[in-house]
Assembly symmetry: C2
Homo-oligomer: 350 residues x 2
DNA sequence: CTGAAAAAATGATTATCGTCACTTTTTCAG
DNA sequence: CTGAAAAAGTGACGATAATCATTTTTTCAG
């Protein structure tokens, strides 16, 4: 079956030219001459890939991308921006919103076709990698029916890539499901009224995001952001609900996850309440090193994220880390931190 | 069927005298001449009431009470201390540990029999009240099989009274089940290394205690203490486990409870991290007034508990409350606080 | 009702950590 | 490799809230 391509471009000449090229190349092509129609077509037809101009009247390219990100189905479709040279400046913004590639106009036929091909291939590769990596998903696997069922459901779902710093969901968004983090890493933060952030969690592969919002039938309570390019899979709420009702083991499993989460949160509370910044920073280091497995290996994290993690000012983070370095507890150059003495960090008195 | 009484007393003369009196009164009597034997007999025979001397060699009365409190079954048995005048000083300690009454030696026959009678009656009354108050347990009631089942299990269980300030379970204790709070109120706290306390929860009727420890199959993560005389019912772990496996609705219900708990903890985290003491104290006031339902009504809470709730020093609590009073937000005399302007408290900026 | 003990309040002092302003280092596109 | 922008680090300063010491008020058994 031929792949479906959606092209959104207000300039008739360019659009028709692209349609012609793509049809000749054997794709099934849908075309829209403005953003609104484009979004409609995308949601209805769920094409395999979308090409979209940035500068358009009414709804521009960024707007289209934003709208598509709202629909879990459409958000997973590879998205390529078409830009004139002048627009290149704001392009990073688009890439951070989750666009996968961009083409600078004018481009020739081969450039276009290659870009599409490689995107489609990458998507397929991701899907394959994902299926394979699921075999490593020890968390929920056993010989039990319910869990096998959950695994199956997960396997059937499409994956979606999130760029570094791209937001996965916002605090207050309607919880439409549970995200399973396949690979990469993700932080969840809550915003205080004055705009300061507090990190409520930091996650590696095989973690679930938005569990409590989904399971409580409420809005997301925090904002999830990719710390690096990450692959995630959305398990829609209704499917999850069905599973929970049919298979007690699945429910039991989630109960355990939630219970442990509470335990962690309580621990964090105690720390925030009565531990000095020094001690809190040490705790954060220990947590991070656990997250990043191998000891002695450097990891990168911004002072801002560290500050949000330990609930303190970025300047205080800088100072404390400098102290730690002087004391031989860690090493650092730039944003890369290496833990040298995890035992002393873990046992820090005050 | 005649009621069973266990008497633990090292003095042979006194013990035999009491046995005689009780047998004449129609009770089935077990006697032990030291604490160890007494505990054994109590756990094995589960008498309806226990009489126990305080001063005994090896295991004294406090020790017996302590041991009995470890067994969920035995802990529910009414417990009466027998004391000489000289021992009266430390008696409060015993009462706080959960003893229900005390008799000062020497006592005459009628004093003894009356004490026993009234204790047994009170116990029965509690049990009856408890069954009735279960009807108000809206939390888990619906027409669904699973929940009806849960309710039945709860109804069959024995209640147990906890005195004001009595500990229900300690942080680190093996989680042997879930407590349902029938009436009264309970706080849960975590201890920091330096001994300072942080309150992780404050509960009113129809709440569950120790959910997460029980459901995660771990030790209790906090210490639960009765804030006033409270009635609780223990749902043992294995029965709960069975229910969870048989009835998805029950599991679903607990999942919701846990999820909401996480939400609250995250909110608390954010507050601790970035809110001023003033604001935190205001939040605590709001939470307490919600807990104690009727606005304008005074409630009692120690500055120490408030400090643990908001993660600050007791002196700071005093100061902040005085400020609030000056500003007409609350009224207070002694430990009794009345909330005057809940809206302004809730909206407090900083 | 009374007095001792516990709890609460207040005052004085100080350490911690956040803020602001500025410098230095790192990062990254071209 | 280069230079501009972003991130990290540093210094000075001050506000907040903890601590310690003491006084006042409340509680509660007798």
């Amino acid at each position: 079956m031929s792949k479906k391509v959606l092209i959104i471009e207000d300039n008739n000449e360019i659009r028709e030219n692209i349609v012609e090229i793509l049809e000749l190349a054997g794709y099934e092509v849908f075309a829209a001459n403005n953003g609104k129609v484009g979004v409609d077509l995308a949601v209805k037809n769920l094409p395999d890939i979308i090409l979209c101009d940035i500068m358009m009247p009414e709804l521009d390219g960024y707007g289209v991308l934003y709208m598509l990100n709202k629909s879990p189905e459409a958000a997973a479709i590879p998205f390529i921006f078409l830009t004139a040279k002048a627009e290149r400046v704001d392009l990073r913004k688009g890439m951070e919103m989750g666009a996968d590639d961009y083409l600078t106009k004018p481009f020739d036929d081969m450039e276009l076709l290659n870009a599409i091909e490689s995107r489609l291939k990458k998507k397929e590769a991701q899907q394959a990698f994902y299926s394979k990596s699921l075999d490593n998903l020890n968390t929920l696997i056993s010989k039990n029916d319910g869990l096998v069922e959950l695994k199956k459901i997960i396997q059937e779902r499409k994956v979606r890539q999130f760029k570094k710093n791209q937001v996965i969901y916002y605090e207050g968004d309607k919880g439409n499901g549970l995200y399973l983090l396949i690979n990469g890493s993700v932080k969840t933060i809550k915003l205080a009224e004055d705009g300061r952030e507090l990190m409520t969690g930091i996650f590696g592969p095989d973690s679930y995001l938005g569990i409590n919002a989904t399971l409580a039938n409420e809005d997301y309570t925090d904002t999830a952001t990719a710390l690096e390019d990450s692959l995630l899979c959305l398990i829609p709420k209704d499917q999850l609900e069905q599973l929970l009702n049919m298979y007690p083991v699945v429910a039991r499993e989630f109960i355990k996850l939630l219970s442990n989460d509470i335990r962690e949160k309580e621990e964090q509370l105690l720390q925030l309440a009565y531990h000095s910044v020094r001690k809190r920073m040490a705790e954060a280091m220990v947590r991070l090193s656990r997250q990043h497995a191998t000891e002695g290996e450097a990891f990168k994290i911004s002072r801002e994220d560290l500050a949000a993690m330990a609930g303190m000012a970025t300047e205080t983070v800088s100072r404390t880390l400098s102290d730690f370095k002087d004391e031989g507890l860690i090493d650092k150059k730039g944003s890369a931190i290496t833990i040298l003495d995890i035992n002393r960090l873990a046992k820090m008195k005050n």
